[in-house]
Subunit: 218 residues, 2 copies
DNA sequence: AATAATCGGTTGCATTTGCAACAAAAATAA
DNA sequence: TTATTTTTGTTGCAAATGCAACCGATTATT
C-alpha cells in the first residue's frame, strides 16, 4: 500500500487526512484491484457500491450509444476518482462504462463505510464526508457553468459567456485560458473553424484582443 | 414552526427524519427569516454559510450579466432548497443572486452544524448527510445528462439523445415527457419552431411517432 | 355557448454554422 | 539547419437554424 501514498496524498478526497491514511484505508475496508488493458472496471447497467480511485495506469469513462458508437467522456489518470456521483446518489445502476486504457490498478472505497461513523473513534469520517461533499458540489458548479455557456444560441454568445466566467474567476479583464483553439471549441461544443472565424470578427470589431491562449476583454 | 411541517416533511433533505424534525431543527441552529417581495435573499458575490429552504411564497435564482441583463435560472417554490452547491463546495462567495418573487419565508440550515456530529447523540446527522450527498450527486447526474444532450450539434441529435435518456430511464420505447413543446425546446436550448419542424421530419421519416407529450421510438 | 388564450405545426427568409479544403505560422523532430 | 507535424486562421458553400408571422386546434374563461 505504501507505494501508492505519493498518489493518494494528492487525492482531494483524502485532503486533511494524509497523516492517517493507513488507518483511514483499513477502516474503510478499501481494496485494490488490478485490471488488464481494455478490461471493464464498471459496466453500464450494473449496480455499484464503491468509489474508484486510479492508482496507476489509466482508464476511460465511455458511453455507448444505442447505435453502438462509443463516446469517450473522460480520461482517468492516477489520482482521479470515478463513480462518486452514482454511488452517492444511490443510483441502482451506473449509466456509463469505465474501461482500462492501459494495465491499471484501482483502489475502491466502500461508500456506506465512509459515510457511517464507525464504533471506533475514527474522527476522520467527518473530514472525508466534507471532502466528498465538496468534490461533488464543486463539480456541480462547474457543470452549471458549462450549461450556462452551452445554453447560448450563437458562438459569439458562448465565447462571451466563457470569457465572462474567466473574468469573474480571475477578477481581471485579461487571462490565460487552459485550452488551445481545438480544445476550446470542443469545450463550448462548436466547430473549430467557425469559432476561429467568430474570434477574428470579434477582434476586428474591437471587442477583444488575443494572442495564443492569452485574452483581453475591451 | 409546527405550521411548516407540511412543507418540511416533503423536503428531500429531511427524508427519513420526519418524525424527529423538531429535534433536528433545533440541533441545527436553524432559523426562519421573512422577506418582502423583491428583496434580496442571497446576493451574488457575498459569502454564504447556510442552505436555504423556501417555506412559503416564492423566489427566483437570477444571474446578472455584465451588461446588466438578468437571467432567471430557477424559480423556487415551497419545499425547494437553494445554495447547497455553493455551501457544500465551501465557495468563498455565491455566483448567483436569490431574490423573493413574492413575500416569502425561508428556513436556513447551518452547514457546519449539519455535517458535524454533535456531542448529544444526534444520530440523524448521518441521515442528513446521506440525504444532502444524494441530492447533490443526483443533480450532478442530471446536469451531466443535460450536457450530453446539449453537446450534440444538431436539433435532431439533441432530440434523439433526450429520447434515448427517456428510454433508458423508463426501460421502454415509449414514454410521456414532462414538457410541452415550448418547454422541451427551452430544455434542449433550441428554437421551438425549428424543433417542431425537425420533429415532423423525424415522424415523416418513420423514426418516431408522437401525440402531444407521448412519444414512441420506432 | 361564445370568447379569449394557449399551444403546436408550417413556411419563407436571412443568418449562422458546420464542413472541407487550403495556407500560413509555429512547434517539434531529424 | 531542414524537414515534418501541429496549430491556427481563412474562405466557399451547402445545410441547418433562428426568427417572425401565421393559422388551426385545443383548452380555459366568461
Amino acid at each position: 500500500m505504501k507505494k501508492y501514498f505519493k498518489v493518494l496524498e494528492k487525492v482531494p478526497l483524502f485532503k486533511g487526512v494524509e497523516k492517517e491514511l493507513d488507518a483511514v484505508l483499513s477502516c474503510l475496508l478499501s481494496s485494490v484491484k488490478a485490471y488488464k488493458k481494455d478490461s471493464i472496471i464498471f459496466l453500464a447497467g450494473e449496480p455499484i457500491h464503491a468509489i474508484g480511485i486510479i492508482l496507476s495506469g489509466s482508464a476511460k469513462i465511455i458511453k455507448e450509444g444505442i447505435d453502438g458508437n462509443v463516446n469517450i467522456l473522460t480520461e482517468l489518470v492516477p489520482g482521479d476518482t470515478f463513480g462518486e456521483a452514482f454511488v452517492c446518489a444511490s443510483m441502482p445502476k451506473i449509466f456509463v462504462t469505465v474501461q482500462a486504457q492501459h494495465n491499471c490498478e484501482v483502489l475502491f472505497i466502500n461508500y456506506k463505510k465512509m459515510i457511517t461513523p464507525c464504533a471506533a473513534a475514527c474522527d476522520f469520517h467527518t473530514k472525508l464526508i466534507e471532502n466528498m461533499m465538496k468534490i461533488i458540489a464543486m463539480k456541480n458548479i462547474v457543470l452549471n457553468q458549462k450549461i450556462e455557456i452551452m445554453s447560448k444560441r450563437s458562438i459569439r454568445e458562448k465565447l462571451l459567456c466563457y470569457f465572462e466566467i474567466q473574468r469573474e474567476t480571475g477578477n481581471s479583464n485579461q487571462f490565460t485560458i487552459p485550452f488551445n483553439r481545438m480544445e476550446l471549441a470542443e469545450f463550448i461544443c462548436v466547430d473549430r473553424s467557425a469559432m476561429s472565424r467568430e474570434l477574428s470578427k470579434m477582434r476586428d470589431e474591437g471587442l477583444i484582443e488575443f494572442e495564443k491562449n492569452f485574452f483581453k476583454l475591451l
